[in-house]
């Protein structure tokens, strides 16, 4: 790679990680097409670099989200049990299921989530009363710097949340994605967590899920330092920027950006299954 390509990879990583960190996604869904399309990098090497970058994005972005109080660490541990178990299951059965079917199912789930988030607009649910039972000790709060208000919340429907999170893990294992595009709507729509708490919690979780993916690519010698090093420099800048934007952006705008991104992902997955590539 020459100097201009190194700078280009770093800039692509800044873009991917800014949106990834801001929205609670890993950022790999943006980085892989950018690396393959604009820099001619082999898709396997791009996915390997992406796995390392998703971990890096999560590590850098989560530290800001955690200090801001957006990340609910108890909720992340609870959901990670079924997500991680689902990811193993997904990776083990990936070869036995038609990838096109998975892409269509995931695409439809993402489109449904986008439409639901747009229609319901569950931005910041009302603060739960003090006498509402909290059997899992998940009640939490954070100061939203954009509105200067404290947002209190209590995640609901833990059982269904765990089950769907396991499904998100299975899809993550099958498709090699972080799962944030499913986890954020799940926490917001089903479990009634505010969007910023959902994004902050998901941002931490995708890093843990991507560790196993990165290990796979390391084991198969498909992590290229020539790509990873400049990408990590870009990730560092983008993750900091994205997590700061989450603090300052109005929740309505964050929801709109998220809806647009997951709708795009949903459509592109369905088109991909039909043999039509958007990118």
């Amino acid at each position: 790679m020459d100097a201009s390509q190194l700078v280009g990879v770093a800039l692509a990583a800044v873009f991917a990680s800014t949106f990834g960190s801001m929205l609670g996604l890993g950022g790999g869904v943006f980085l892989v097409p950018l690396l393959t399309l604009f820099f001619g990098i082999d898709p396997r090497i791009a996915v390997g670099a992406s796995a390392v970058c998703v971990v890096t994005n999560s590590v850098v972005g989560s530290s800001v989200h955690i200090r801001s109080g957006f990340t609910n660490l108890k909720l992340s541990m609870l959901l990670q049990v079924t997500t991680a178990a689902g990811a193993i299951t997904g990776a083990l059965v990936a070869l036995r299921v038609d990838a096109e079917v998975i892409n269509v199912v995931l695409g439809m789930v993402l489109l449904y989530s986008a439409i639901s988030m747009l229609r319901q607009r569950r931005l910041d649910p009302p603060a739960p009363a003090d006498d509402v039972p909290d059997p899992f000790g998940l009640r939490s709060s954070y100061l939203d710097p954009a509105t200067k208000r404290v947002v209190e919340y209590l995640p609901h429907r833990i059982g269904p949340g765990l089950a769907i999170s396991g499904g998100a893990g299975i899809l993550s294992g099958m498709l090699g994605i972080g799962g944030g595009a499913i986890q954020v709507p799940l926490m917001n729509l089903l479990m009634r967590a505010p969007v910023k708490a959902a994004a902050g919690t998901s941002s931490f979780m995708v890093g843990m899920t991507a560790v196993a993916t990165a290990a796979v690519f390391y084991a198969h010698d498909q992590i290229d330092p020539q790509v990873v090093v400049p990408a990590m420099i870009g990730i560092f800048c983008g993750a900091k920027l994205g997590s700061q934007l989450t603090r300052r952006i109005q929740t309505q705008r964050l929801v709109l950006v998220f809806v647009l991104v997951i709708a795009y992902l949903g459509v592109s997955l369905i088109l991909k299954a039909l043999g039509i590539g958007l990118v």
């Binding site: 955690i66 200090r67 991680a84 196993a212 796979v216 990590m232």
Partner: protein
């Protein structure tokens, strides 16, 4: 919503600070190792390799201060940081007497280690 800052329990604050520190330290250590690798690459006039090599190659490369191996170690350090944060979360819950979440964190750690083990097979 309320217009005042909600009371953040001491346990929650302690957990958040510890986990944020682990993540920040993990990233700084990884970047420092990779920076050393890049400097070695410049001084030795060796271009960056296009693969990391397996564990044995990595250890042999580190023994001879191979720039690519040093950078590879930095990449491994960042990959291991979420594992370290899970250990710290579990330990902090244990210290705080929250046995339920200490066990849940331990279970997450176990599943992550199994998934890495299966990946490397």
């Amino acid at each position: 919503m309320h217009a005042h800052r909600a009371p953040d329990s001491l346990h929650e604050s302690q957990l958040r600070i510890r986990v944020a520190r682990v993540l920040e330290t993990g990233f700084r250590v990884a970047v420092a190792i990779m920076a050393i690798g890049l400097l070695l690459s410049v001084f030795k006039r060796e271009p960056l390799p296009d693969t990391m090599g397996g564990p044995r190659e990595l250890i042999a490369g580190l023994a001879s201060a191979n720039p690519g191996s040093v950078i590879g170690l930095g990449i491994i350090a960042i990959i291991l940081t979420p594992i370290a944060s899970t250990i710290v979360i579990g330990w902090t819950f244990h210290e705080q007497g929250d046995r339920r979440y200490a066990m849940i964190s331990g279970l997450v750690l176990l599943i992550l280690l199994i998934s890495i083990g299966l990946s490397l097979l």
